[in-house]
Amino acid sequence: MALSRFHGGLRLPPQKPAAAAAVVPCPLPPELVLPLAQHAGLAAEPCVVPGQVVLRGDTVARAAAGLSAPVHASSSGVVRAIESRPLAGGDGPCIVIEPDGRDTWNRLPPLAWRDAEPAALRERVREAGIVGLGGAAFPSPAKLAASVATLIVNGAECEPHIACDEGLMRERAGDVLHGAALLARIVGAGRVVVAIEERMLEARAALATALRESGLEPIEIVPVPTIYPEGGERQLIRVLTGREVPAGGLPRDIGVLCHNVATAYAAWRAVAHGEALTSRIVSVTGAGVRAPRNVETRLGTPIGFLVGAAGGYTGDAARLVVGGPMMGAALPHDAVPIVKGANAVLVLGADDIRAQAPELPCIRCGECSRVCPAQLMPQELYAAIRAGDDTEVRALSLDACIECGCCAYVCPSQIPLVDAYRQAKRAFAEQRADRARADHARERFHARTARLEREAAERVERVAARREALAQEQAAKAAAEAAPEPEPPKTMGKSDVLAAIARAKAKKAAQGKPPEGDTE
């Protein structure tokens, strides 16, 4: 199929030593630390108490109402504590489980995916706590709600060092393809595309073989060039379909849905085997690791323990990163657990990290705009942020930035561009929240004022109505006084005139609005 290309990007050395070795399981750590917030949206709510015995796959925290996902015990054992623990983004509440070593499963009943209702399949994906395993950890059921024409299953990792999807596709190709077909059934997609990187020859062969043997409907397996950040959702959709997801929109707006291969795999395990999401493949890699490899890791495994499973640190280990070298977050220590979105643990050697250099002024070389996949002008955006010119920052489409870090990587002046954009986005989000709060308060004030005015108007009306009733009564009385004379008046009598005046007065009183009411 004809591929399009996206603007900018970088051809980075793949550096994937982990891809060469087979996927190995990580041994059971002495404790499993399960954060309640390891997905986008709201934190899960604990439904176990310390001391409770749990099996692998048991729900230990339920999804909150709204965008959220449940958390499951990743091995059998005893809940030791529900407490705050250090995580990648600062401290956060976690459920700590001490495994009993037996790793006993509690599985859900398997579903027949071809016969089950799409809604039932989607409910299973929700129950199993499945989120986007490419790294964003966005709860998958939310993305599966709309029906689309095309499902793209993303196996293009593109960030150097990360090789977990490659290992998964090579060794479990059949399950990945079944997962793709399953997701396609949920969203009613007629066309299914598995995108992999050109250099993943073994994975490609494995997928082709598995597809022949599976008896599934046709699935397109499309190799794409390894250009960072091709694995980014919007970039991949552009490459495969030639279309751009509209700014501020979602892929579904152009009839496309994109899921990571590991997400498809996890969905398949949940439906066909009743397994909740309790483990994932993590690439443990970099010059700071003795034996780089892909490791099947239980969620909640401390990173230090996981690195031990890959041979431990080398003497060169200089920086610990969760994720890849372009977007990953550096950690101050390794007592942080593996979460659903952690695709790689990268330990960089001293030669592989950016030297602490002073930030020089921008020389407007334009390299940042040349590599920007969102086609922004990072240098001008940075200047506008520094100047505090919010209007200009918006005009330069800060919100289109995908934070891929290409600009900061190529900047000869070593300006931390992407960091500045993240901070600016956060400041904007806070501003929006402040404005929403202020709007809410203003609305309440207006509602109160309106209510008081309405009440005042009603009071005036009531008085007017009483006055009218009184006038009518008087008119009726006058009419009754006039009535005893039986002969019909040839001409209009005095009483008729009086009655007419009284009626007119009453009408006027009823129609005439009080002055306060007019100001409304």
Binding site: A247, G323, M327, P332, G366, S369, P412, V418
Partner: protein, 371 residues
């Protein structure tokens, strides 16, 4: 694709705190924001590439006009670095990163290549004072200057010392009386030629001067070109130096230090504008390539109009900027008071660059066309 969790949003539990609470830490690390890999380039590397790219041009300059140019380069660089240091000090900026960025030497070499090789030393001093102290640091230093420093310096000395600026030498095969290196040094450091040399015998009009003078006497282009100063396209010697500059320019393109839009637009606009005149009356108007290979046009196309700080940053803006430089150069050559207008063309376009950038912003992903 992984989305970085904002590790720097809230400080994670410090190792000491974690140990205090019995949380097992195997190893601690220093943190920094992504991206983590070393930077593939630096301002110093960019400027070094520009200097490397100038080597062939300088070499041919030495071949055709003698080694005096090297003295000019050394002088200008010395003044530039000293002035840079003084201005950094005055501004309270750190010396080391800014002196090490090599931007002052680039300005100095570009300036030195524009002035006659035997210019007295105060030309370099005056030019560098304007370039570094005024055009660069008075506007806020590296990255903030509105005008190309080398061109600002050159334009000022061109106006202030018009006589010195005409004292070019004849290129190698035509120099009937070559100036010895010691005599050249004497000229540079005293401002006067040692006896018995005299400027009248040593100096020679540049090809552009010749065209200008003879065209004003109503000579045909064919007759003008009969002058031995002319080579295949431009002036003898000059056209080879231009080729060497272009060679350096291709190196910069390959290194991605410059982008194709500016040189293509500068040279393309000169050719496009001169072709109709030449077709209409080849006797009165020079062959288009003569314009390209004369004066400082090729140097400007690859090294001066491509200055990122004072040029345009958008792809379409670079095309507009380059075309502006080309057209203004031709206009000044034809109707202006100076034989070569490149410096003034660049300075005029420097003024327009921010506005051009504003109106040539690229379409943002997800807006319009493909959406």
């Amino acid at each position: 694709m992984p989305r970085a969790q904002d590790a720097h949003e809230r400080p994670a539990l410090s190792p000491k705190q974690a140990w205090g609470r019995g949380i097992p830490i195997v190893k601690t690390f220093a943190t920094a924001p992504a991206p983590h890999w070393p930077a593939p380039t630096s301002v110093r590397r960019v400027m070094l590439d520009v200097l490397i790219a100038l080597v062939p041009g300088v070499a041919l300059h030495v071949f055709f006009f003698g080694p005096a140019i090297l003295v000019q380069i050394a002088l200008a660089t010395g003044f530039a670095v000293a002035l840079e240091a003084a201005m950094l000090r005055a501004r309270g900026a750190p010396l080391r990163p800014f002196l090490g960025d090599l931007s002052a030497p680039v300005t100095a070499v570009l300036f030195a290549l524009c002035i006659p090789p035997l210019s007295p030393w105060w030309i370099a001093l005056a030019g560098m004072t304007v370039a570094i102290a005024l055009a660069k640091h008075a506007y806020g230093g590296l990255g903030r200057n509105l005008f190309n420093p080398a061109m600002a310096g050159y334009a000022i000395v061109l106006v202030a010392f018009p006589l010195d600026m005409t004292r070019w030498l004849a290129p190698a095969p035509l120099d009937v009386a070559p100036v010895a290196f010691l005599d050249a040094l004497h000229a540079i450091f005293t401002g006067a030629l040692p006896a018995p040399l005299a400027w009248d015998t040593v100096a020679s009009a540049t090809p552009l001067d010749i065209v200008r003078t003879l065209a004003s006497k109503d000579l045909m282009i064919g007759e003008i070109r009969a002058n031995p100063a002319f080579g295949d396209f431009g002036g003898k010697g000059w056209e080879w130096i231009a080729n060497a500059y272009a060679l350096g320019g291709f190196y910069l393109l390959w290194r991605r230090v410059i982008h194709w839009q500016v040189p293509v637009a500068v040279i393309g606009s000169v050719v496009a504008l001169s072709v109709p005149f030449w077709l209409a009356d080849a006797d009165r108007h020079p062959f288009p390539l003569q314009h390209v290979f004369s004066g400082g046009l090729v140097l400007a196309a690859f090294f001066i109009a491509t200055d990122p700080v004072t040029g345009c940053a958008t792809p379409r803006g670079r095309l507009a900027f380059g075309a502006g430089v080309g057209v203004l150069t031709l206009v000044i050559r034809r109707w202006g008071a100076y034989p070569d207008g490149v410096a003034f063309a660049v300075l005029i376009m420097n003024c327009a660059a921010p506005l051009i950038d504003r109106y040539t912003r690229p379409r943002v992903f997800g807006h319009g066309r493909h959406a």
